[in-house]
Symmetry: C2
Subunit: 303 residues, 2 copies
């Protein structure tokens, strides 16, 4: 009997097993692929970690209704848990997931008062460091290219950046503030083109994330504005391209690997034990100075 079994390349049917055990071995991940290279990077690390722990990864795109599909999948018992990387306060799907007591973890973006595990980084601290760095180096007209405030990351960075400037008596002139609707190279590019058309253009611009900053850098390049001689540009995230010579972008590095690993650990623990307390983790980030700002030493901010 065993011989025949070994010969015929038999494999147990995973569906039937899943039905008995109420465990599919599949984890869902919700990303927003188009907007931001952060998501492919994060997805890759999450996927690798999940593969390593013996899980399959199913992916949904939050910009094409993926959140609802993910929750359907959880309710229908197709996935054991879901990782949100793009959660927002007004996400109905997230609310439903919590109601259903589905194992859920939020990583990157967080949402206040939602009872689930959350992993983020010190966005406020990073933005404060950039603000302090620009002021220390005598930047006079500081601009800000921000994005949709339903994203906690963008919101925290903008708020902290403004607060830190204000605390030292600086402020952002209204005409030096742009809030783009969609985070993309294109919108960063368009926003910077408008800033540089001003009679009195900025001498430093903080972009709420790297992909905006790359677009902004290319806008300066197109108009012949020299970076960093005439204009400093800083971003946030430290995506791979930020370190490329074409950009050499000053930015704040988010520890994506640590974030992803922690998130998966939390989710798997949650699946094992739904009762345990919910916690929000805030990981530290690193300020990275490159050629898009003058290579001046930074005074590390005590926080």
């Amino acid at each position: 009997v065993l011989q025949v079994l070994a010969q015929s390349n038999y494999r147990p049917n995973a569906m039937a097993r899943a039905m008995r055990t109420n465990r599919t071995g599949t984890i869902g991940v919700i990303v927003a692929r188009i907007t931001n290279p952060v998501y492919p990077e994060l997805l890759e690390i999450l996927g690798r970690k999940l593969a390593l722990t013996g899980h399959r990864t199913v992916v949904w795109d939050s910009e094409t209704g993926g959140e609802d599909a993910a929750i359907d999948a959880i309710v229908e018992g197709l996935v054991d848990g879901v990782v949100f990387t793009t959660a927002t306060r007004n996400s109905g799907a997230l609310r439903r997931a919590i109601e259903c007591a589905a194992p859920v973890v939020l990583v990157n973006r967080t949402v206040d008062d939602v009872p689930c595990d959350q992993v983020t980084t010190d966005n406020a601290g990073g933005a404060a460091q950039i603000a302090a760095y620009l002021m220390t180096n005598q930047r006079q007209r500081i601009g800000l290219i921000s994005g949709p405030l339903h994203a906690s990351t963008i919101r925290d960075r903008e708020r902290s950046f403004r607060d830190t400037l204000k605390a030292s008596g600086h402020k952002i002139a209204p005409e030096l503030y742009h809030q783009v609707e969609n985070i993309s190279y294109k919108s960063g590019n368009a926003a910077m083109l408008r800033l540089l058309e001003l009679a009195d253009p900025p001498d430093a611009v903080f972009c709420a994330n790297d992909v905006l900053a790359l677009g902004a850098l290319d806008a300066a390049r197109r108009l012949g504005v020299r970076v960093p001689e005439d204009l400093w540009i800083a971003g946030y995230d430290d995506i791979e391209m930020a370190s490329w010579d074409a950009f050499s972008l000053t930015t704040v590095r988010q520890p994506f690997t640590d974030m992803a690993h922690l998130a998966i650990d939390l989710l798997l623990a949650r699946i094992g034990n739904m009762a345990s307390e919910h916690k929000t983790y805030c990981l530290p980030s690193d300020f990275v100075i490159r050629g898009s700002t003058a290579r001046t030493p930074v005074r590390r901010q005590a926080r």
Copy 2:
């Protein structure tokens, strides 16, 4: 009874249904995420198309054993079919999939003599067009940065590029040929740095794909070699970054949307009818001239 059913937010268990119907509504996609921005782009289009046709997408990374995991999933009945974007001749998983009569489609890379549907583009034609363009414009020392030849895309481009040069009495000097092991910005960068260190450096380099070309462009930038005045660079794929001002890369556009849609249509048809004949489709591609080569009009090659 119906009232209670409507009130309680009941959802049928998908596992049980899947078990009865032998249809999970899930399709697997195998990509190689780290190496090349082509894969996130392709994955996004595939995922969107699958979502539109009511399917879930599970993702595997071929560089971390994803091919085997995908075939396991198919044998265990967890997915209805699999899309390979990174198939190679020596892939045991692909062979096993064919043995098991699993619904499989190959897109981007193809493999000869494997009985399954395949979707590719005219890589030979695109590379020939670039070769002709470089020769027409009096490039004298033409270099080539190529990659692993187990990828049909790279192999076809290299072969056709060489053949087209040879047909006009040109050839690639041995010192102007580099074959990188892994396709990445970094390896393109390193290869170009070595080419530019030569006593007699190239005046044009064709990179077997865009991400290599971006690295190559940055190598020229770092060494102060002017593009296109001193050096022409061309890539292949037309990934999003190729059109950014920072690069403005001359390249050949692959119709990723058409490729992905066709691949999914073929796979779903295959799942419906395993018996139908296998076919290989070759879609046309577009030559795109940008600032990394002089903006000279091209004579369209008749093929």
